[in-house]
Symmetry: C2
Subunit: 231 residues, 2 copies
């Protein structure tokens, strides 16, 4: 039987779990179901990263789990739903890493630096997720047949906008407290995000990669965009 009232977390917006505020451990049962879904999501992220959104088939995802399509379709209505779940998870990772840093009692320039560092780390640490969502967004929006899909996508895109707005906020604060010299806040934000998101394109995970390398990348990248290249 199709699990109709399966945890609808990733199918529709649930107000009480915005950005991972999830109250876990209430019961053992839903937690396990959550884990099963999460496992699928992770497999999907890997497949999306390797083969792209369309080339990655549902069977691929299932194979990656040592399972069949039946399992995936039991937890997700459609392939789009799976992608949406990956997308939301990627954004949750970003928010959890960056948003707390905004409250620090520092000059805006220093806060921005730490936020940039954190964002870079998230890009590298959750690479499969971030690569997946970078591909098709408004593309998917055009392709989405059902209105429900488009609604979910709009919500996700708005989530992304909220996230990028965090950086613009700090940029504006830096303009105010004088620690930053920004003429065009939106454009500066685009430049910052662009330089960091570029990681998703060129960064490659190697098994023997020490943590220090990622630290160096995050630090150098953030320093470059903050201090510039000119001497």
């Amino acid at each position: 039987m199709r699990c109709e009232n399966c945890n609808p977390v990733f199918d529709e917006k649930t107000k009480d779990q915005q950005r991972g505020q999830m109250v876990l451990g209430e019961i053992a049962q839903p937690a396990k179901k959550q884990d099963n879904q999460q496992e699928i999501i992770e497999a999907a992220a890997h497949c999306f990263m390797r083969h792209g959104l369309e080339k990655a088939t549902m069977t691929d995802i299932a194979d990656h789990l040592g399972a069949t399509k039946g399992r995936v379709y039991h937890h997700f209505r459609s392939k789009n739903a799976v992608f949406f779940a990956v997308y939301r998870q990627a954004m949750v990772f970003c928010f959890e890493a960056v948003e707390p840093l905004m409250a620090q009692d520092l000059p805006a320039a220093d806060r921005l630096f730490r936020m940039a560092e954190a964002h870079a780390h998230v890009m590298m640490d959750t690479l499969p997720y971030q690569r997946s969502i970078r591909i098709g967004v408004e593309i998917y929006l055009r392709g989405s047949t059902t209105e429900a899909d488009r609604t979910v996508l709009r919500e996700l895109i708005e989530m992304r906008n909220r996230y990028e707005h965090l950086f613009r906020e700090v940029l504006a604060e830096g303009q105010a407290d004088g620690s930053l010299s920004v003429t065009d806040v939106p454009l500066a934000g685009r430049a910052l995000i662009g330089a960091l998101n570029g990681l998703v394109d060129w960064f490659r995970i190697r098994p023997d990669q020490p943590q220090s390398e990622r630290d160096h990348i995050a630090r150098t990248l953030s320093a470059t965009i903050l201090d510039g290249l000119r001497s």
Copy 2:
């Protein structure tokens, strides 16, 4: 009849036309054929941008030309071949705009600034091409069944590497002449390219958009990455 010895420019690597050094106007015949192909390539770029690589069907491309699949398949062996052509064209645009600027007799920092500006302009002016190729690259490489396809893709990727190397060259020169302060040249190059390529993600073409807006974007973006955000 299938045009077997159709201008194989976009099917296989031809040594004599590296980076748009094409000697045009030799005969009238190939020039016209070239134009026909170019028209298809442009239509494909538009469709790839709108619907994504896979969702864009060959019929879509043909429809965009007011033609049918027959025309496309007469000039290109496969859908992959069309994508490869779009890819190469995109890179040619980049080379033509940026490479000449390297010879200018200026401090490296200033040359880099102009190169960045030029690159930004290319991103905006040839948006459909640039968006198309940003999607599937090594993704396509994995998906490519035939060895011939993979060979072409490797060549294209190497073309891209050569292009990005231009910026690293200037960065190294700036390190030498003291106009730039760069500790990690490759990383600095990634940051620069990333910030500029981000354009492809967020820039939207509007019909009433004055040229001055693109100029402002290119200038501000380049200035931001060169001079940094900190005051």
